[in-house]
């Protein structure tokens, strides 16, 4: 289980495929971070809205 890379720049370069490899991992990471963040925001908004409705209903 040795680390495959000689140096950090070696790691970033990905043997010349850096753009493609990091373009894939980067966009995947972005989406998998954004989706939960948006879901949390949406839920907070929903709870506020439903809470307000409930209070209005009960007067």
């Amino acid at each position: 289980m040795n680390i495959h890379w000689q140096s950090f720049s070696d790691f970033l370069a990905m043997g010349g495929y850096g753009l493609y490899v990091w373009g894939s991992f980067g966009v995947t990471a972005l989406i998998l971070a954004l989706e939960p963040m948006l879901a949390v925001r949406r839920r907070r908004g929903l709870l506020l809205r439903l809470g307000r409705q409930l209070r209005a209903e009960r007067g």
């Binding site: 495959h4 495929y17 490899v21 966009v27 989406i31 998998l32 839920r43 709870l47 439903l50 809470g51």
Partner: protein
């Protein structure tokens, strides 16, 4: 009736599924992080160079899990949709609705990472071959399902319309899966094989399986999180939602 049957039905109602889902989400999220970290470590730090594709093959560690999930989520979504059509259960439509956005994102990621892999290996971002085209159709099926449901105000009718679309679209899944065998496609068959060079392929295979598990756990966590919101929204008039809202309000 025996106990197991009663328990099964117990969780089929939104008011008992809601707290169960709430308890499960942190575990699935934690599992996604752990498997993801292990998979990234194997895939990006430890796994050796591929003898044909150099370092470019590492895209496999996100491409294959995203592609698998895009197909698998669709099957689960269609299963729930079909269940809802057949038995008119409340939970089914909510589950299908909760899964669609994650499935669409997985289909998009599959196409995106596929394009970034295709360019250096085949010399093109895109070709209209059977595998790529049917995956694009899968993305459109997800988007169509979401748009159709959003366009119908009555949730029960939206569920039914969505379910019909989802079930018709199931035909596409075996087409995607077997396309590389049925037609002469540019897309290769399975690239990780244990027969080539066992010790080397094993690390790659494990990295890929761990990433697939991470994507799996992620999808379950996000879908459960989303379904809880849909439950509150759809059942907002009911007593159980009111008590949930009160409990949330006092936090």
């Amino acid at each position: 009736m025996n106990n197991r049957l009663i328990n099964w039905f117990k969780y089929a109602s939104p008011q008992s599924f809601y707290p169960l889902a709430g308890k499960l989400i942190p575990w699935f999220a934690a599992a996604a992080v752990v498997f993801g970290a292990a998979g990234l470590w194997l895939g990006l730090a430890v796994a050796p160079t591929d003898f044909q594709q150099g370092e470019g093959y590492r895209i496999i560690f996100v491409h294959v899990p995203a592609s698998w999930m895009s197909m698998f989520i669709y099957l689960v979504m269609a299963f729930w949709a079909g269940l809802g059509l057949a038995y008119n259960t409340r939970l089914s439509g909510m589950m299908a609705q909760a899964l669609a956005p994650t499935g669409a994102l997985m289909a998009f990621l599959s196409l995106w990472t596929g394009a970034l892999w295709g360019k250096p290996m085949w010399g093109t971002w895109w070709v209209w071959d059977a595998r790529l085209t049917s995956e694009l159709i899968l993305l459109f099926l997800y988007i169509g399902f979401i748009a159709l449901q959003a366009s119908i105000d009555d949730p029960r009718r939206a569920d039914k319309a969505g379910a019909v679309l989802a079930l018709v679209g199931v035909v596409n899944i075996p087409i995607i899966y077997f396309s590389v065998k049925w037609w002469n496609t540019l897309h290769q068959g399975s690239s990780v094989s244990l027969t080539k060079s066992p010790s080397m392929a094993a690390l790659m295979l494990w990295g890929m399986l761990l990433m697939a598990l991470a994507f799996w756990m992620y999808s379950i966590a996000v879908a459960l999180y989303r379904v809880r919101g849909i439950m509150l929204e759809r059942e907002r008039g009911s007593e159980w939602v009111k008590s949930v809202l009160q409990a949330e309000g006092t936090k």
